[in-house]
Each structure stands twice: as C-alpha cells, then as structure tokens.
Symmetry: C2
Subunit: 635 residues, 2 copies
Amino acid sequence: MAFQYLTNVDMEQAKEEYCQILEANGMHYRTETIPVTESCARITANAVYAHICAPHYHASAMDGIAVKASDTFGATETTPVHLKREQYVAVDTGDPLPEGCDAVVMIEDVVKEEKGVCLYAAVSPWQHIRQIGEDICAGEMILSSYRTITPAAIGSMIAGGVLEVEVIAKPLVGIIPTGDEIVPPTTDPKPGDILEFNGSIFSAMIKEWGAEPKIYPIVKDRFDEIRTMVQKALEECDMVILNAGSSAGREDYSCQVIQELGEVLYHGIAMKPGKPAILGYKGAKPVLGVPGYPVSGIIVIEQFLKPLIDQWNRIPARPAIYKEAVLSRSVVSGLKYREFVRVRLGYVGEQLVASPLSRGAGVVSSFMKADGMLEIPQEVEGYEAGSHVQIRLLRPKEELQNTLVVIGSHDPLLDEVADMIHRKDPGIFMSSSHVGSMGGIMAVRRGENHAAGVHLLNEKDGSYNTAFIEKYFPKGGVRLVECVGRTQGLMVTKGNPLQIRGIADLTKPGLRYVNRQKGSGTRILIDYLCKKESVNPRKIYGYDREEFTHTSVAAQIASGSADAGMGIYSAAQLYDLDFIPICMEQYDLLIPDHAWDSPMVQELLETLKSEEFRRRLENLGGYDVGNPGQVRQRF
Amino acid sequence: MAFQYLTNVDMEQAKEEYCQILEANGMHYRTETIPVTESCARITANAVYAHICAPHYHASAMDGIAVKASDTFGATETTPVHLKREQYVAVDTGDPLPEGCDAVVMIEDVVKEEKGVCLYAAVSPWQHIRQIGEDICAGEMILSSYRTITPAAIGSMIAGGVLEVEVIAKPLVGIIPTGDEIVPPTTDPKPGDILEFNGSIFSAMIKEWGAEPKIYPIVKDRFDEIRTMVQKALEECDMVILNAGSSAGREDYSCQVIQELGEVLYHGIAMKPGKPAILGYKGAKPVLGVPGYPVSGIIVIEQFLKPLIDQWNRIPARPAIYKEAVLSRSVVSGLKYREFVRVRLGYVGEQLVASPLSRGAGVVSSFMKADGMLEIPQEVEGYEAGSHVQIRLLRPKEELQNTLVVIGSHDPLLDEVADMIHRKDPGIFMSSSHVGSMGGIMAVRRGENHAAGVHLLNEKDGSYNTAFIEKYFPKGGVRLVECVGRTQGLMVTKGNPLQIRGIADLTKPGLRYVNRQKGSGTRILIDYLCKKESVNPRKIYGYDREEFTHTSVAAQIASGSADAGMGIYSAAQLYDLDFIPICMEQYDLLIPDHAWDSPMVQELLETLKSEEFRRRLENLGGYDVGNPGQVRQRF
C-alpha cells in the first residue's frame, strides 16, 4: 500500500527543464487580429506601423485667420499690413489649412477693419500650423513587437490609421477538476462532499496572468473518463491543468493518464506544499498534474504554469519584491524540500514583522490572509524566532505600512473593529492573529504588534490583566485600554441533553469536551476553575483537544463531535448552542507606548468609543459595555 | 472675439473642492450582487461572513484507517493492539470520518493481519483529522468591507458556502464626443476630419481605474444636441465626460450646457496642458468638460476623474512612485500654471536621465513614449539642463533599468533594431530620441545615452564622424561602431514636376523646400552642399521650415505642401517620392566606453551583426551594408 513518488527533483531545475522541453517541442503563441479599441493590455505580435500621418492634413493650431505668409512680410507696429477679405480665411483650431495659405495668425493679433483685417506683425511660413505628421508619420513604427498596449498606444494607433492589430492570442488553459467526492459549489454540502473551488481560484489567477481559463465539468475517478477529458482538453486548449489525483491515493490516475497520452517529465518535486505535482506534456502542450489541496495547487500553478504563460506571452517575469522581516515564531522545515510558508506582515515602527500563518495545505484562507511568502530553501532546516528573513511581498508596501497589527486573544469583535476602521478610512487596514492572551503579551514584549487582546485572570484576587502586565513589563511602556466585559461560560449542545450544570459535570462518563489552546485566557480560566472546584482535568475526555478560537470550539460542539467547551456567549449564540454562564471577565487591549500616537492606533481608539461599535456589540450579544477606548492604567 | 476663462484656479485646490462638493451632494457607490466566481478584483461592499464551516465535516487528513482512539490506548512496540474488521474503516484523504471514529492512523503505520490490523502505537483523539472549521468557521468574517477580492478570497468564500457577494458596482462613465469635425476612426479620412480616438483612450483608462465606460455617438456642435445628449448621459450614467468644446472657439458650448443643466464649479484650471477643463456637476453626478487635444484630455481625466472613481470605489489613491533624474534639456514653464511634461527616462550607469518629449497637446504619441512625468509647480519657471528633478514614473523601474537609450540622429533602421532586440529578449527595451547627430554627441558627453546615431561630414576632406569625435572627445572614452552607408539625396514630388536636378535648382521661383533642424547631420550636409555649389540658402523658400526626421520631411512633400527636401532613400521610398541621389554617407553609432559591457549594448552589437538585420535593411532600401557592429575606431 505504500507509495513512492517517482522523483524528488529540485524545483528550479524542474521548472527550467519543463520550460525548455516545451519550447523545444514547439510551444509558441498563436496570434489574432482584433480591433484596436479592444486591445488595451494585450501584447503586440508584430511591430505596428502607421498607415497615415497624424495629423493627416495641415491643421490650424489656433483660432484665428489663415493667410499666405508672404502677404504679411514687412508688417510692423508702424507699418501694418492690410489684408482684403479674399486674402484670409477665418479658421478654428483643427480646421484644415485652406488652399493657398501657409500660416495662421492668432485671433488675438488680428484687428478687424471695414474691408478686411489689419496685422501689426509679419508671420513666418508654417506658423501656428500643426503640420502633417507632427504626431506620427505614415510608415513610422508606432509600437514594436511584444509590447503591452496602453491607452495612449490605442490613441496613437487610431491616429495613425491602424484600426486592427495583431496581438498574441491568450493561451487557453483547460482546467479539469477530478474526484468522486468533488461537487459544484453549494451552501448545503453533504458530509464527504468537497466543494469544487480550486477551478475558480485557478481561473482567477490565470486571468490575472494574461491567459484564458476554461473549466471542464467535474470528472469522476475513472481512468477512462479522465483520459477522455484530458484528450478533449488537449485538442481544445493550449495548456491543461489536471486537478487532483496527482498524489498517492488508491484512485490517483493523473500520472497514468498523462503517461499514456503524452510524457511525464517529473512526478514529485522537492517542494512543500506541492510535492505531488506532475510535470507532464503532450508535444508542445503542457499537462500539469496539480494536487487537490488548494494551497498546494496555488503554489504549483504559480511556480510551473505562470512561467509558461509568461513565455507564451513574451512577458519577462517581473521580479518579485523582497523585504527583510523579523520572524515572530520559529519555523521548522525539512531538508527534503523547499518550503513555502505564508506569513502575515506588519510594520511596527520601522520594523517589518513576519508571523507564519497556518501551514495546512487545505487552509485556503491562509492564502487570503497572507501578506507575504517566506521561501525556505531545501538546504535550510528552518529559522529561529527573531531571525531576519527575506519575505516575498504579496501586498504593496504602503498597505503594510498602514496596517494595524493586532496579535493576541481572539474575540469576534476584533473583526468588526477591523471592518469599521477600514470602512471609515480605506487607506487603513487591520490584521489580527489569534495566539491567545499570553501570546499577545509576548508579542508586545518583542515589539511585533500595535495591540493585543488580553483577558488574564489573576487567580489570587480574581482581578484581570494588571498583575500579568506588571509581571511581564516591569519597566512599563504599555497602556491597558478598556474594551468590554464579556460573559464566559460553558457552551453545550442545544437543549443540553447531558444536563451539564457546571465544571464539576465535565467528567461525566461519555461527555466529550473540546478545549482551547494553552496560553489562551480561556484555557487559563478553565484550568483555574478546575482547580477551584477540585476537578481533575485528566478525567475530562478531550481536555487535550485544542482549538484556537471561541468560534471553532462552538463549531465542534455544533457538529456533534463534542458535547461541551468553554467560551464566550457570542460564539454560543452564533451556533445556536445552549450556554451556561460562569463568569464575567475583562477583555482589554494592551497597547505599547511606541505605537500609541500612530494614526492607526488613534483610529482604533476612536472606533472603540463610537456608537457604531456599541451597536455592533449588541448584535453579537453577551457583552457588558462600559467605556471602551478609555485608558485603564498606564504602566 | 477674445475669450476669458472664468477662472485660473490652483489645480490641487480645485480637485479637493470638486471631490468635496460631489460627496456633499451625495455621490455614493451603488452595489450589486454577483456570483463569487466572477468577483475577482471587485471590491466588497460589506463584510462577508461564512455560511458554513470549511471543512464542513470531519475529514481524514491522510490515507489510512479511521479508528476510535480509545481502542488503541496502550499500544506500544512490544504490546501491539489488534483491531478487528468492525473496529476500523479504510479511508482516503478527504473522506468523512465514519460514525464512531475519532482518529486516523496513517497507512504507513498499519500492519495488515488475517483478521484485521495491528498497531504498534496508540493514537490520540483527533489525530490526522481535519476538524470542522479548521480553515473557516461558520459565522466568521471572511472579508471585511471595501476589500479587493483576490483569487484566494474567491476560494475562501466558496469554501465558506458564500456563492454570491455584494460588491461595489463600477461607476458608469458616459463619454460624449462632440465636434462637427469629429469622425469615427477610419484609415481614409478627408482633410479636416478629426479621428475620434479620445473616447477609446479614455475608455481604456477608465477601465483600468475600475469603472465602466460608455461611449455615446458623436454629437455635432449644436447647443441643443449637446444639451440633449448630456441630459441622456446624466440619466444613464454616474459620471459624464463631455469631450471638447471646453475651450474658447466659436462653437464651444460645453460650459453653457453644463451651466444650464447643473453647475460649473470652475472653468479654467491653472494647469498645462488642460487649462480649459470644466469642473461641472449636476447634483451628485460630475460632468467634466475635457479639452479636445488628447494629451490635455488624458491629463485632465487623470487629475479630476480618477480621484472621483477612487472615491466611489473606496480605493485609497496608490501613491505615485517618484525618482530623482537629471534633466537632459532645459524646460521653461510659465508662472500661470502647473505644467506636466512627458519625459523619456533611461538609466545610464546609475544615473536616471530624463529627456523631455514633445509638449504639443496634440501629440498623443508622446504619451505612448513617455516613461515618466515631470510636474513643474506653478511657482517654478522651469529647470536648467542638468538639474536634478523628481519624476513620476509611468513604467516600472526594472524596465527602465533594462532600456537601451539611443539619442542622436534619426534613421528608420533604429526602430527595426529596437524591434529585433525586444523580440529576441522581451526583458530588454530600446528607446530612441531624434535630436540630430550633434545632439547625440552632446548627449554622450553628458552621459545621457548608451548610443548615438551619427553621420557628420567633415567638409575639409569629405570624411565622416571621426573629426567631430576627436574634437568633442579630446580625452577619448568612446568607440565608433560601423552601422551602414546610406544614400542621401533630394526627395521630390513623384514625377519630379519641377524638374529638380540638384542643389542649384532649389532656388527656382515657386519651389517650396522643407528642411531638417539645425544640428542634424542632414542639415549640416545641405548647408555644406549649398556652400560648395555657391547657393545662397536665403534664396531657398522654406529653408527655415524645420522637421525632425527624414520621414516627416518626406511626409510634407507627399502632402503637397513642399516640393523638395533632403533625406535618405528609404524615406523617399516609403512615401513613393522621386529621389535624386547626392552622396553616400556613413551612418555610425557612437558608444561610450562606460556602457560598452552592458548586456543591452552587447545585444545591440549582436543585432547589428545578424542576418536578420541585413534582411530588414534590404526591405527599407538605399543602404550599403559592410560590417555593421564592427568597431571602426576607439577614441
């Protein structure tokens, strides 16, 4: 049952060989002739020459009169020249130069007389005339080959009498989704159904890269059906993506199909995610076997398909922008592959901080949240926290500089705050990472965030937050800002079938608990409550099952895979769970002094103080709102 | 007949007031709900929340067997656990977790037995399971308001069960071309016809800015017709551009029409080009009167329409990228306006050099050729050559760094060389400016170019180029590279009706000559030929009429506005003119040593040596090809 990939080839080497083989096999753009008016952002296939001059006639460049220059020779302030009606013609800007005239006098310099006009200065031939070809001469090259057509180029071509242009046809990329479990997108999938969204992601990426996607119907895991569809796509398209079935499962036919119809250069690349990629081709047409997990798929097509599209379109690859950042957490990587780690980025002061996001290949939201990519070379085993690393930026630097970085305890209200801040000033962004209250405090100590959500109970006196801040910031330099009081309690299955009434009930036989991660305020709270009520956590089934947010704990209970979990009221309400209130806790924001005066933090404080914030909290439910945005204490 | 603009208001002030008034009047985006699959690059109107969890079921994260974790407790290398067939289920990656199971064992860790399987290690609950909501939890905010939708965001939304999304509707911008002389694009216009291409330029720009253009039919210069069309556009669109008629001509009704239908904030802005712009509106809808010259129009809509579109779309204006450059020529500007000067840019060594392009408002090709924009503030009278100025980049810096800058004498072969170089390596660009041979030599002296075309006759001995180079580069530092021999002569009207046989005939009464600019090799040649043949240039009618290229001289003769001009054979052939050969001259390339080893110059030399180059020269005609690309002499 074990599976061996055919190869574990170096990614850059594979990419280069793949491009070379396809080029050697004759991969080459097609061209098409399209109206110039529809050619913006397309790429010229050949040099474009003007058919006519622009302007195509001698035109007056002024409002005034057209004259024969020699008629005006000798005119001065003291010896004006008088022109009769037949010696001049009134012209507006753009009018053609009348027969026999070779100059224009501006209307401001013309004095009207009874029988004509009077001029007090001579004009030289071709004065105030836009001569034929001033802009473009017939026969001149307007655009060379392989240039991206701009709006001004469209104007130049039309001015030069070019109404159609031969451009590089966008390569047609066929996308074949395969898999018995794959279903079209729906809001109501059955267990086991996998929503087909890779095709939509790939399509959007492919369009951005200047190609034309074509999504084929979903194909079941049958060798013959896949073979038939690949053959059809090869006939209709210039490039083919075969999505999923590239791996090691019992029904992974991609490699076989490609081998039967064409050739496989490599199956298995030394990269993570993306290892199971298949670099296949038939003649000059690439057939790329792409893993099913969305993150793997995105990285594979970015690394292997985009260079082929660029090659086709004759676009030099735009160099990526790298910036040095400090890594907020350690990242371990294997020696068997080059690894791609998505990171959140934020400028705290002048320092760019990179926080690794989930590395799960199935977590497509991590790609949406990613501001940058850390590429760990094959020969590197990872980086320590605090290392200076090069990050490939996925968002413009200016956006990152205007991003409020919130790292700490999770509460859904943070998303609402992010929304409000960005709605008020679309130039300001807020990103939040959920690492628990202690994680937030540590991030502030390391200078990695502008704010941290904290709700840490001091077991000794039942107070919140201050004791921890005093301990971890003995020299001060931070402010604690009031946010909300919130109700913590036990979220239990709707109707509370196990009749849970409190912490002591959690050890009931058959009860399945779901916990929060160590370091989170909620975990510290449940640990404390167990101690207080003399409950042995080892006797709670599932105490080691850890989730990172209130919502995900609630989701587990709602799904029926757990019976109870500690969390806040708003999460229980969201999933329509029963809720047993245990205590009211203080959820505050910890803000370092160095960030205090930044416009982003000030905007955050304004938002907390707003009526709109109260309104949104009311919608979420379970919050006790005092004076959010007020400084509780300066340390 | 004189005309006064209503105002000469500061551009930035006008822009700010215009935005404010429209916002105060209620200019606000509309929204539309579209399929998520078609939402790439659109902007969310509201926060988007997940409808379902992703994954929406507990899924196996591995190929292997699903088990109940507690069944495996106690398993070790020495005390394996045996599971019967009913205690496990074979699963593939992505399969739903079977009822009763809460863990997955990788296939590699499973030992098959006759009656089931054997495990040598215990598994913990939820091992190798992608839990519900691992990626996205139902109810979680996937995207906040006013965010641009990326491919990964499309995937995240579909994964979260969101199949439709409310986005900001692109503002519909109506474009009304007006003018009696305006005709739809054609390859065969009559004198006086002005091709309507502004609409196509504006449309392309507007699309790039995230709006939807709608071009109305061309309207004649009749007050009522314009009024009717503007009214219609105001009903149908969110913003209106009224093109031309904003100026001072006899039939410029734009301002009147806008005043009658709505309000005019300003007519006349302190900017050049673009002064005649009209900032009008009706309620919350802008009606922008845009001058007819394309360059003016482009700058006006960039300055006044783009900010409104950004405001509508809630996109913060992306800050422009400025770079310091050395100005190659002096630029004089008035104190009455802020001036926008298009420039060509090139990196010569580390130095960015800016060469001003034609400032004619009708020269749309200057916008196509522009690499950057020099903005001269109103209070500045211009800049001396050699000044360090800030240039707003219109092309990426990497392209500029890979651009071969050729400044000097004009020959159509340069365009062919540019095309060949860029076809061979689309990462290399070549830009050429035509300033004549002497201009080219001066540019090399100032370090502004990588190569200059030169063909300078030494009157004393009839030799070419070397005498001038010795004079202007007494310390050397340059190489003269052979390019071509080319035939200079008199281009005359087809059939030579004036029976011109040589230079001496140019003074014939009624003959109209068209000349090249001072400093060009061809001008120096004709000056020399006149002297040699004792012809007084003052007696040649039109000797002061100067054109900048061989082609434009030929175009004037072909148009019938001149009878003769000096130029090269290929230009005469292009316009089907008669040609009286006068001499064969050396057209060489002057290359400074500091640029010699650059990949771009090496590519240029390779191109000159190629067979393809010979083939293209043959097509152009009139060239004598020896060993192009060889160094004639090192100085």
